[in-house]
Amino acid sequence: MSEAPRTDLAYLPFERRIQEVEKQLAELEQISVRTKLDISSELEALRTKLQQTIGDTYRDLSAWERVCVARHDKRPIALDYIEKVCDEFIELHGDKVFADDKAIVTGLARLDTRRFLLVAHRKGRTTKERMAYNFGCAHPEGYRKALRKMRLAEKLHLPIVCLINTPGAYPGIGAEERGQAAAIAENILQMFSLKTPIVAVVIGEGGSGGALGIGVGDRVYMMEHSYYSVISPEGCAAILWKDGAKTPDAAEALKLTAPDLAAMGLIDGIIAEPAGGAHRAPMVAMQAVKRQILTALDELEALPVETLLHQRREKYRRAGALPGRFPVVT
């Protein structure tokens, strides 16, 4: 699948060379239009150079650079998946106790012929939207909404798909008063007993407990340039290095990238992104996520539910432990 390159991208600090080549290309294209000269071979050479530059830049991203890609303004967010990839979506609001937390969106969804429950952190596309959705930082009612809808999915024999993209759960007075910790804990506990397949994909930021609160799955995938971490690199640098400037070092030390976590056996797979990251070709990136979700659901729905639950618990009981490291109680 091909897609016209986007021209509205904000460049990340390490993308300077890409920016230069794209600028040259744009100028050459303008000349071509203005002068009607045949410079198609020059254009072609520059386009090849651009692809090479993108490839070179993205071949060996540091952990911190990946975090920047994961947070890119134009990176596809849950709303894009809902509007452009899902074939049907019926949003279901509210925890039916306190409020409808807009930082988490839940609803009945369909991909091709496959029906499921979608649970996703919601970020916005504009500053106004981002503020309205609290930057994807959920309150307890968001986690309780998610659990309530997941119970509905279990009853309806619908699988659950969770798209993770949050800097973390919201740390505020109201959140604490209403039991932020307990809400996350309850979700994690109950997700081990839900008798329906659960597939989780980290599509951007996997921010700590706020991510895990909708993140227990039979399969957990990460997009190539997403991150998943016990703490934000900024927070880690401030606490351990006592120096915000050490954020890139903290990002490196935390081993928070998809390849790092796959190597430790902590995730089930990496979903490759188009050259230059998901923000360069959102549809291509989102289709890859869709394919991985459908494949996983095929595998999981073939399992008897007892096997599914047993495997889910066993997977987390092992959680990356070296073989033979821990005793077994029988």
Partner: protein, 302 residues
């Protein structure tokens, strides 16, 4: 926490940098727990009311301030001695020690921190667990020790909580957990975050088998420990004045840029907000647990 984060995107909220199940752990591990340790010498100052207390008297009273009733953080072994019947503790899995899987190195390599803490505390990890009895009632007990890297939850702490839940399930015994922890241990990265899920998986199996669990939250319990096993036991108790929460107070204050209300995130605040079942004084803990265990006899019978 320092607000000097590298390259904060302009519309990113400040808390995005700070919020994590792990960071209160490290606030604790980095600074707070050092303060919590009682200075040597005959006399010391209460960190709550600033009264001068005779050290021996404090220890005799289970480290509760005679002047203001402040419940000092109790080292794990002292807790076990205070709660269990004499000589009844049958420790298990004591040989499981932390591993530096990430080769994590900020100012001091994590491997060195572990070694130093091991020799200082004489134990291999922050969690002590095993069999024991309370006024004759047999239980499985698990105690998080704040003096070991702020009681932070790494791979071994998570594993031992899970093993304790397994022991409770297979031996049909009640599980009693005492927590004091800053949360996840960030030196172990995602491996530490996933302990929240691992312990929950073990508790899910315990619940399914009809097991009975009681968790006592003591000062301080925050982050990934509060956001996992500590909050989902059948009965949740707290010691008076204990700081209990998800995010640490400093993270919250810096996010909302307001002063926090008095008593915020203290046990009494949680009780008022409906987050804990009961506040129990240290001196009454044993007898209260015994009563609660009697009411749970039906769950662990059969």
């Amino acid at each position: 926490m320092s607000p000097d984060f590298a390259q904060p995107p302009s519309d990113r909220p400040v808390h995005a940098a700070g919020e994590a199940a792990g960071d209160p752990a490290q606030e604790a591990a980095g600074a707070r727990w050092k303060k919590k340790e009682l200075p040597s010498g005959l006399w010391l100052k209460c960190e709550s009311c600033a009264a001068t207390i005779y050290r021996k008297e404090l220890e005799e009273k289970g480290r509760v301030c005679p002047a203001c009733d402040f419940h000092f953080t109790l080292p794990g072994r002292e807790r076990i001695k205070l709660v269990l019947d004499p000589e009844s503790f049958d420790e298990r899995f004591a040989d499981l020690g932390a591993m530096d899987r990430l080769r994590f190195n900020d100012s001091t390599p994590y491997a060195d921190k572990i070694k130093r803490t091991e020799s200082k505390t004489g134990q291999k990890e922050a969690l002590l667990c095993g069999f024991g009895s309370i006024e004759g009632r047999k239980i499985v007990i698990a105690v998080l020790d704040f003096s070991f890297l702020g009681g932070s939850m790494g791979e071994v702490v998570g594993e031992k909580i899970s093993l304790a839940a397994d022991l409770a399930r297979t031996h049909k015994l009640p599980l009693v957990i005492f927590t004091s922890s800053g949360g996840a241990r960030m030196h172990e990265g995602m491996l530490s975050l996933l302990q929240m899920a691992k312990t929950s998986a073990a508790l899910a199996s315990l619940n399914e088998a009809g097991g009975y669990s009681i968790c006592v939250l003591t000062n301080p319990t925050t982050g990934g420990v509060t956001a996992s096993f500590a909050s989902v036991c059948d009965v949740t108790l707290a010691e008076p004045g204990a700081l209990i929460g998800f995010a640490g107070p400093r993270v919250i204050a810096s996010t909302i840029k307001q002063e926090l209300p008095p008593g915020f995130q203290r046990a009494e605040f949680l009780l008022e907000k409906g987050q804990v079942d009961k506040i129990v004084r240290r001196s009454e803990m044993r007898s209260m647990l015994a009563k609660l265990l009697d009411f749970g006899a039906g769950a662990t019978a059969s």
